[in-house]
Point group: C2
Chain length 283, copies 2
Amino acid sequence: MEKLIKIIDKSIDSYMDIDGVYQAKIFEAMRYSLFTGGKRLRPIFMIKTYEIFSKDINNVLPFATAIEMIHTYSLIHDDLPSMDNDQFRRGKPTNHMVYGEAMSILAGDGLLNLAFEIMSKSIEYDNEDNGEYKRKIRAIQEISKNSGVQGMIGGQVVDLLGNHENMNRDKLKFMYKAKTAGLFQASVVAGAILGGAKEEEIEILRNFSLDLGLLYQIQDDLMDAEEDRKINKLTFLTYYGVEHTELKVLELTKKVFDSLDQLKNRNIDSLKEVTKLLVKREK
Amino acid sequence: MEKLIKIIDKSIDSYMDIDGVYQAKIFEAMRYSLFTGGKRLRPIFMIKTYEIFSKDINNVLPFATAIEMIHTYSLIHDDLPSMDNDQFRRGKPTNHMVYGEAMSILAGDGLLNLAFEIMSKSIEYDNEDNGEYKRKIRAIQEISKNSGVQGMIGGQVVDLLGNHENMNRDKLKFMYKAKTAGLFQASVVAGAILGGAKEEEIEILRNFSLDLGLLYQIQDDLMDAEEDRKINKLTFLTYYGVEHTELKVLELTKKVFDSLDQLKNRNIDSLKEVTKLLVKREK
């Protein structure tokens, strides 16, 4: 796992190494947030899924790098004063505390744009067979949908406008599915597509990733319970109460591993292992 | 021209028509800025360039729509309080004045993401010949580079950090090339690529679009001279003075039409016509 994180970090770093250019400051700002202790969960899940079906990691690495950039941009923008107004993340000052609001907005924009730049540039249309770049295009389509207004951003909007009065079950479900689970889904499904999984395997992994994303967010709610109560934040926990929430965690945990077990003809040991680590995580 | 603008507007509108979803507010906010009197210059130049080489406008329309979304997101974010703090644009309240800062940030993010979603989705890899989707991939690569940290966003960073003390000729040149000319270049070059232009034609049109973008921005400076002086804004005009700037306008105007005349074996009447309109524009 440490070896894999090093490979991911090196890949991210390779796009940030632009010294001497006039706009060097934005690279500094982007790099700052890319390297403040992120766990690289999304790229790890993408690569581990990919490796079930294919071996050459170079085909998935640009996409794994891109998904971490998309995740990072969303955190930078989320932390802004007009959004969550967070001054610290992972124990360090947030991007806008260090670089100012304007640069933070641009750094977020820059990372989102760079993600698509990296993914599209990874397609070398003259040196690849048909199947190879079809898979890459499909992966970009999958990621863009899940990170956009129908996915992560859509979930953030509902989160932004939501309160205890205007929320309902379906809306809350959409918010959770879109917001956190969106990028988990994008990561796992893109990994499966790029690896060359069969259609039915892709759908199994889609269900797996959605449940995993939900589980991850609900665990977060349980860990942040006290703080969320203070700021009157609407979460799955505050909406349904602790008993129902803990039952949901058990249910999702079961579903996650049941999904994996449906891929019985494949070697899923490694993906199962990282899933176990995620499910049992401590704060 | 009016007919073409209607086609572009209809295409933009087709992506905004999502009633009844939980995140409807962001579609409202995106639509607000997409339809506040933009001149659709970038899509028009993309389509007019495309039409020199190909006739079926449906292949270029998603890209023309995407470039207008990228342009619009950049205006929404530019206008934010921590950036230019503009309260009005084209005589109407800016996005954040209507929808608040948080929603404006998300609306900008949403439009940037949607642009790449639309472009990548336009590739129907099962129904197109090889050349068709190669061209589309290359167009995405061209647009993403010019809208990103090496292009428009990079130029915005230099603009944000620049002042009369720390500026120099090369830096100013980079800023102008990247900021406004970046998206003009992306529009024209993507149009040429999608249309199937030859490599040497693409390069002629690249030079044309860069000069045109510079010209457009410098004309803006001349028109906004009084206001820029008030806020002590650094522009080509305030850096070089009015005489040098007016000479530059003449020089660029000549270069723009000289470039077009190099495409002598093609019918460039229509592109020349919109170029003339742009060059002679009044505020």
